[in-house]
Structures are given as structure tokens and as C-alpha cells.
Symmetry: C2
Subunit: 146 residues, 2 copies
DNA sequence: ACATGTTGTGTGTATATGCACTACTACGAC
DNA sequence: GTCGTAGTAGTGCATATACACACAACATGT
């Protein structure tokens, strides 16, 4: 049987459905990661910082697809907890963002929890289907950013 | 060429990718809807209220897949602006949530903006793929809620 | 009548998100 | 040199999110 949804019907709002699923998935990852004192969003930021020596604000926000001013605020708990160091910055000045040693340790100790969540989520549809979905969603998101 | 992603690699975190795409899609819908003074999340809530005469808090949060305490707060701007009426409520008492006449009018005047955004987003991948993706994502989200 | 468990609602605190706006720097045109 | 413009970073305000907790009403067993 086909699973066609009527995309002109309000109940099938792409935005609402994506937000709904994202809430559920985020809660699932969060449940695995919270005992390390790190949220999924923060984990993504740390992982990016861990993959390249130095970033400035605009570069990193671009990479993460996160609004620049959102990133400014999302970095604060990570700076407060000593996972990220920001040198320079202030109005008009470039800031140099780097992950600290403590931050790298956090990424490492976090990895098993992330893997557990990721693997459980991937199992729901299988790797192939998830790969196709993420690839399609990336296509859609990039098309909207034009 | 195949588009297989390595789902064990950190860059392909399902949570991060869903959050990223959802941010982009939400911004897109929001750009269409904001001139009506309504955000996408609020629109979803109003549309639900519009589809059934009376809800209480737990029912509606369940229907929306939105944490109950999140819904309590998300309703506030809608009550403040006179789109939703809450009768009863308070600690321990059931609340009866209903959309007002003003709320119904808002839903109607909002519909063209929603349709414009929905249609533009659907065009990025085509109706068929979006239907399949939403259907799969629903399967995944339900599996995680077990 | 009373204890108790279940259901239903709201608050405290913290993070996540983004538009409009401010403010400073750097650099090129002149 | 200075003037304008593009680039970069941060703030004000409002919404969105959810866990831990508090509290009230109700059913039910004793």
C-alpha cells in the first residue's frame, strides 16, 4: 500500500512534522548525553571545534548552519565550563575560538553516549534509509538558503 | 554514484542534521508568516485547536507531540493576543482550551502564507519524496517514544 | 474518615533560537 | 587622509524547549 500524504493538507505541514520529529530525536540523544553535563547542541559545537584548530564566529556559525547570534549565546555555557576558549572578540574584532584540553577530553568521554543514541536511532529505519533521508534533507535545506 | 553516508561518523549525527534542517525550514516558514504576527509553532497550535472544539492541556500536548510544560508556555502569547481562551485550569483543575473567533480568523488569514511556504519547500524535493520522508520520520519518532 | 496512588496543571531554571539593531574594524576609492 | 562600505561581533527582546519539582483534585482501598 502506498503511503502518500497530501502535502497540501495542513496536518502534513513539513515544518511542523520536522519540528516534531526533531523534538523527539533531540530528547532521545539528550537522555544519553545529559549525565555528562552536555546537551546535543553543545556536543555538535564541541565536535566542530575539535575538528579544526581555530575558528572565528562567522566561520563556525556558517559551518554549523546556526544563526551567528545564536552561536554567540550557545558558546557561553561551553566557555563558562572551560571547554572552549575565546581570544580577541568584542565589537568589530575577530574572535579566535579554540577547544581546550578539557573540551577535547569531554568530547572523548561523550563519544560512547553519542554512539549509543545514534545507533539506536539509526536502527529505527536502517542505515540506508537514514542516509537517503539526510541526503535529501540537506538538498532541501541548501535549496532554501539560496 | 551512491550517496551513502557513514552513519557511524560524527558529522552524520542524525540529531544534528535534523536540527540543522529544521532550523532552515522553520526560518523559511517564519519569513512567510511573521508579517501576520504568528510563528510557525503557534500556527500549528492554532490549527489543532481549530480542528476540534475543546481540548485539555494533556490531550493537546499529546496530539502535538510537544512536552506538556512547553505547551503551557507556548499558549501564552496566543492567549495574550486573544486567539485562544483557557477556561478553568490552575493547579489540579482541568483546563478547557478553545480557539476564539479572532483565532479562527487568524488561521484563515494565515493560510495563504502557509501554503506559499509549504509549496516552496515541497518543490525542493517533490511531493513524493517528501511524503516518503515524513512517513519514515514518523515511524522513527514513534519507535523512539516507546 | 483517611491514606494513597493516579491524573492533571503550573513553576523554576536553564538552554536554544533568531530578527532588529548597535558598534567597531579594515580596506579600498578618492 | 578621510570617507564610505563591507565585514565581524555582540545585545535587546521575544519565543521555543524540557527536566525536576510542586501542587491540587479525584478515585479507591481500608
Amino acid at each position: 500500500m502506498s503511503k502518500q500524504l497530501d502535502m497540501a493538507a495542513g496536518e502534513n505541514c513539513v515544518c511542523f512534522n520536522l519540528r516534531w520529529v526533531t523534538r523527539a530525536v533531540t530528547q532521545f540523544y539528550d537522555a544519553e548525553m545529559r549525565r555528562h553535563g552536555i546537551r546535543p547542541t553543545q556536543g555538535s559545537i564541541l565536535a566542530s571545534l575539535n575538528s579544526k584548530d581555530s575558528w572565528n564566529m562567522a566561520e563556525l556559525s556558517d559551518w554549523l548552519g546556526m544563526e551567528r547570534t545564536t552561536l554567540v549565546r550557545n558558546l557561553r555555557p561551553l566557555q563558562r565550563d572551560g571547554f572552549v576558549k575565546a581570544v580577541g572578540g568584542g565589537r568589530g574584532n575577530r574572535v579566535e575560538l579554540t577547544i581546550t584540553t578539557k573540551g577535547r577530553k569531554q568530547v572523548e568521554s561523550l563519544t560512547p553516549a553519542w554512539k549509543a543514541a545514534q545507533s539506536a536511532v539509526v536502527k529505527t529505519l536502517g542505515e540506508k534509509r537514514w542516509s537517503a533521508i539526510l541526503s535529501d534533507l540537506e538538498t532541501a535545506a541548501l535549496a532554501l538558503n539560496k
